[in-house]
Amino acid sequence: MTGTERENCELAIIGGGPAGLAAATLAARLGVETVLFDEQPAPGGQVYRNIEANSRETGLLTPILGADYARGLDLVRAFRASGAGFEPMSAVWQVAANGKVGISRDERACLVRARRVILATGAMERPVPVPGWTLPGVIGVGAIQTLMKASGIIPDRPVVLAGSGPLLYLVAFQLAKAGAPLQAVVDTSGGSLASAARQALPILAGFAGDLLKGLSWIAALKARGIALYRGGYLSIEGVSRVEAVSFRSGGRRIRIATALLALHEGVIPNNQITTSLRCQHAWDRTQLAWRPETDAFGATTSPLVAVAGDGAGIAGARAAVHRGRLAALDAAFRLGRISRNERDDRARADRQALLREARFRSFLDRIYRPSEAMRRLDDETIVCRCEEVTAGELRQLIGEGFSDVNQLKSFSRCGMGQCQGRMCAGTIGRLLADETKADIADMGQYRLRIPVKPLPLAELAALGNADRNSGPVLEVADGDPSQRI
């Protein structure tokens, strides 16, 4: 059955990364009629993208991408064997509070009504609005890794990696191993990994492997003679494309000429759908991002909808598996497959594993907390890349009395473009809070409505499974056309 024929399902899971795969597998095993929707052709999500094909070909890729990546194969195999339905190449453009999931596949849109929805939409790279960040030739570190996983492509020209977070060194290490021309790595996080680890040793017992792994990447880069810098106040130069990156390091300014620059400041929850559902969100003061508020099973304040994995706050791929399982247990309980006691009994092991993961995560959060002081928003810096709205324009409007992110959006068009505010939502709140000396947690979020992904008008005009008796217009407007609203 394809998405355009399916009218109903018991449990819809959005996203085929570790959380979605684990949730679908367990829910299906518990007898819930489960369908997993994902945009990619094959399961795996961002972290295990293309894992089946890459492991079959067993060429260079899996050795380069490492054992952590290979671990995803077990998850995918279990999912394939679970009996859960899989709808690949399916973009989800709405999840309504009544459980209607809007899918777009093969240039056809349709609605599928689910009794429960688990959002496993994962994370996105945090936008890095520094001067010049929108120039061609500036990309995300995550995008480089996506290309490696999806197509085995590595950059063919010298590349500089800049930013902070575990992915920075991992991708640098993978690129170096794959023989890519790596020019330099600029670490913009506050302190060094080794010294932070020493301080945090008491809470990190049991994570020596992870720590050593991180340190080994750095050592391997040094051994290959890759230039490693610590720096801040990044600025990107170029006219029609990137020509150089400069930064402050140890009291002086360093400039590196490059034609390809990859930025990374960690990842943030992909919360477009929970925002469009008007779920309660909280500002995470450590991760500097909005995350939906959930109970211990991932249930949001929207009655039919749960979130599992990084979409509920960044905790990584291993934790995502446990969070997916917890959401599946709760779905099976709510759908009448298991009792409350059985849910709680089965949840114990996953809860404990999550607690363990949380210790390491809090360490990572601390050392990789984005240093906003080190990326000031100059007036010329573009905040909204779709509509090209600068920080200076927004500052002027705030000075004139605008005190709300949605007012700023309505007036300046910041956040109105093709990306629907994904790239500027965090920045506009930060700017407003800074300028008005207020707490960013009080600045609120963009009001989002469907579609959460752009939807071709032709697909909407031929929407499958739409309720034809939904009363599109007021009755009073019928009859005499001049009595229109």
Binding site: Q94, A96, A97, K100, G102, L111, R278, S403, D404, N406, Q407, S410, F411, R413, M416, G417, Q418, Q420, R447, R449, I450, P451, P454, L455, P456, L457, A458, L460, A461, A462, L463, A466, D467, R468, S470, G471, P472, V473, L474, V476, A477, P481, S482, Q483, R484, I485
Partner: protein, 383 residues
């Protein structure tokens, strides 16, 4: 306690415009806005500046409004006027697909002529194609009002707000009225942000206006609705006029930014208490279908956002403008039922005339609050 001469409840376009005109005539209005200026219908409507196909009772007011749109700079000054993004003279066109719709166009123009109005004209397919080259062959002609156009609703509301402030009005956002009482010293308006005293209160509360009525025991219909808009990604310029449907669900315009705003009165799901509204894909389908059939150029367009604004709805689809029927010094202007934006520049001026001169040169009887019973139902004789 803050004392002034006039309090305006509601910081939408009509509230801001009322404050502007009262300030221009020497009063010191304070506007109390529970959220932010232009948060609901005023800021998020389709921006149509339309005389076309209006209720005949609204036409004198709408014609005066059109003149006010065309001379915005006199009211707002050149910069704030330019900020409204008003594009006039491009016309609004009601598109007829069926023979019955064409017949209705002729009947409508005959009725308008009998009333002495000549701004609506029937056009044939050739003229329709000249005005709108991108229209599909299935469209036979329609009805045009050539002076009509469109403006940016959020920016327009902000311009009226700024001008009102320049003239001495105060606009207090995040100030919710929770009590309204008349005593010997005038009106006491209690809010969650202080208590205000004034001789005159103007109720421009939009979808929430009936609440102010209820505070003084004056019943109004509590009905409201949310009208949905969809907007496409930017497209190359292809159309100047605003087009609307006659029997089909349709309304769209291309903005200065190149995006196409598609409406047509598609209902969203309003939530008055939460002060928001959801859009509903099942219903948007019908509007998308009409656009798809009438405008092949839009088949490749992509919907990037939708939204719905909350608006009061009167059972006779015309607004309430006039003095309270239970209390002196209380005035109402609300219930524009989804087509109040074009009236934006005039209603405040009319209210200032009513309040300060006791009369307006524009006939307003049809909008009188006295057409409702004490419980807020439309009186039978009103129809």
């Amino acid at each position: 306690m803050t004392r002034t001469d006039v309090i305006v409840i509601g910081g939408g376009l009509h509230g801001c415009c009322t404050a502007l005109h009262l300030a221009r005539r020497g009063l010191r209005p304070i506007v109390l806005e529970k959220n932010t200026v232009g948060r609901h219908a005023s800021g998020v409507n389709a921006g149509g500046v339309r005389q076309l196909m209006r209720h005949t009772a609204e036409i004198p007011l709408s014609m005066a409004a059109m003149a006010a749109w065309e001379t915005l700079a006199e009211t707002l000054g050149p910069e704030l006027a330019a900020n409204c993004g008003f594009v006039g003279g491009v016309g609004q066109i009601g598109i007829a697909q069926s023979a019955q719709e064409m017949d209705w166009c002729h009947e409508r123009v005959a009725e308008m002529h009998a009333l002495g109005y000549d701004f609506e004209e029937v056009i044939d397919q050739e003229e329709l194609r000249r005005l709108v080259p991108s229209v599909a062959d299935i469209c036979r002609g329609g009805l045009v009002s050539r002076r009509d156009g469109h403006a940016n609703p959020f920016r327009t509301t902000q311009s009226f707000r700024r001008r009102a402030e320049q003239l001495g009005a105060r606009i207090l956002e995040r100030t919710r009225v929770i009590g309204l009482e008349q005593g010997d010293g005038g009106w006491t308006v209690t809010t969650d942000n202080g208590v205000f005293r004034a001789d005159i209160v103007v109720n421009c509360g939009g979808a929430w206006a009936w609440q102010a009525g209820a505070m003084v025991g004056e019943g109004f219909p509590k009905s409201h609705f949310a009208s949905t808009l969809m907007v496409t990604s930017r497209m190359p310029h292809f159309i100047d006029p605003v087009v609307i449907g006659i029997d089909r669900v349709l309304s769209f315009k291309q903005t200065e930014a190149g995006t196409v705003v598609i409406g047509g009165g598609i209902l969203g799901d309003p939530d008055l208490d939460e002060e928001t509204a959801e859009t509903v894909a099942d219903r948007m389908m019908e509007s998308a279908e009409t656009v798809y059939e009438f405008f092949p150029i839009l088949r490749k367009a992509t919907i990037v956002r939708t939204w719905a604004g909350l608006e009061a709805l009167m059972p006779d689809i015309i607004p309430v403008i006039g003095p309270s029927r239970v209390a002196r010094g209380l005035w109402h202007a609300f219930g524009f039922s989804g087509h109040g934006f074009q009236l934006g520049p005039i209603v405040g001026s009319v209210l200032a005339d009513l309040i300060l001169d006791g009369e307006s040169p524009i006939p307003l009887d049809a909008f009188s609050p006295s057409r409702f019973t004490a419980e807020g139902k439309l009186k039978p004789q009103a129809h």
